[in-house]
């Protein structure tokens, strides 16, 4: 049986992680990071936002895309959950609605990799209830 992972093993990984980070910082401009925010309020979670976030974290790493995946609160698009906001370097954020794993995959392959817009964008001028 394999030994259970512990903090000691993480210590061994630390130097490798550090060199990965410094390599990345040197090779690209610091602004070159893709930002993905997953809406994680009750509405998002109940519609499967956690699976989408898992998918994003795992697959962006697997596909060698330098990205930060974080969570955000409810953006008022409860009807369209799960929603994610993607910010490509130097561009305005784009919000996608009804993101399932298939859509998430499409967003990575088409929008994040090639900058090509994908169906399912929620217009930024959409009004939330407090603005009406």
């Amino acid at each position: 049986m394999n030994k259970v992972k512990s903090l000691a093993d993480l210590k061994k990984m630390k130097d490798q992680l550090k060199s990965n980070i410094s390599l990345r910082e040197k090779s690209e401009n610091p602004e070159g990071i893709v930002q993905v925010k997953v809406a994680m309020a009750t509405c998002g979670i109940a519609s499967g936002a956690k699976d989408v976030m898992d998918f994003m974290v795992t697959n962006l790493e697997k596909r060698n895309i330098d990205a930060i995946v974080t969570q955000t609160g409810c953006m008022g698009y409860c009807y369209a959950e799960p929603t994610i906001e993607v910010t490509l370097p130097g561009q305005d954020p784009v919000v996608y609605g009804f993101v399932d794993l298939k859509k998430a995959d499409e967003i990575i392959e088409k929008y994040i990799k090639q900058g090509e817009l994908v169906d399912g964008i929620i217009p930024v001028n959409y009004e939330t209830i407090d603005k009406k």
Partner: protein, 189 residues
Amino acid sequence: MKDIALHILDIAQNSISAGSNKIFIEISENPEEDKLILTIIDNGRGMDKEKVLKVTDPWFTTRTTRKVGMGIPLLKHNAEQAGGAFFISSAPGEGTRLTAIFGLSHIDRPPFGDIPGVVSLLAGANPSLDFIYRYSEGEREYIFDTREIKEVLEDVPLSEPAVIRYMKEMLEENLKIFSENPIIPRQTK
């Protein structure tokens, strides 16, 4: 909410919005009393008496993007439906403490869900905050503490995907020890 892990993810979000920097999450299984107790304690700004009374009301929310707040009412409902109870206490400046008790063997008790995934996501998505997760079953316990991890990692951030993956696997493997060697509850008959 399909499982307890998703409730944790949801409720922890309240703690984060309340400006907490340390969030303690505990699941305690008590086979002797047939209870499962979920406790979440934060050090956020807390709430006054009036607000504490209102949080279990689905028509109450602090946010302005929508008019309902279902997180706590859903957790309360799930706990009560599983033969349990729900308590919340808070005071301004003193953080909030929330307890949900479920009947462990109750047919309506939600399953655990992906606890390792949720805890590692919370830690990775909020690298500036500290999360402590304690799981106990009778006398046995496992404690996951991001403060220890940060000490080991020094300047490598917890948001690093490889670190998130590692935290998840570490939690999975350590929690598996419990599920593979269950405590057999004493026969009450």
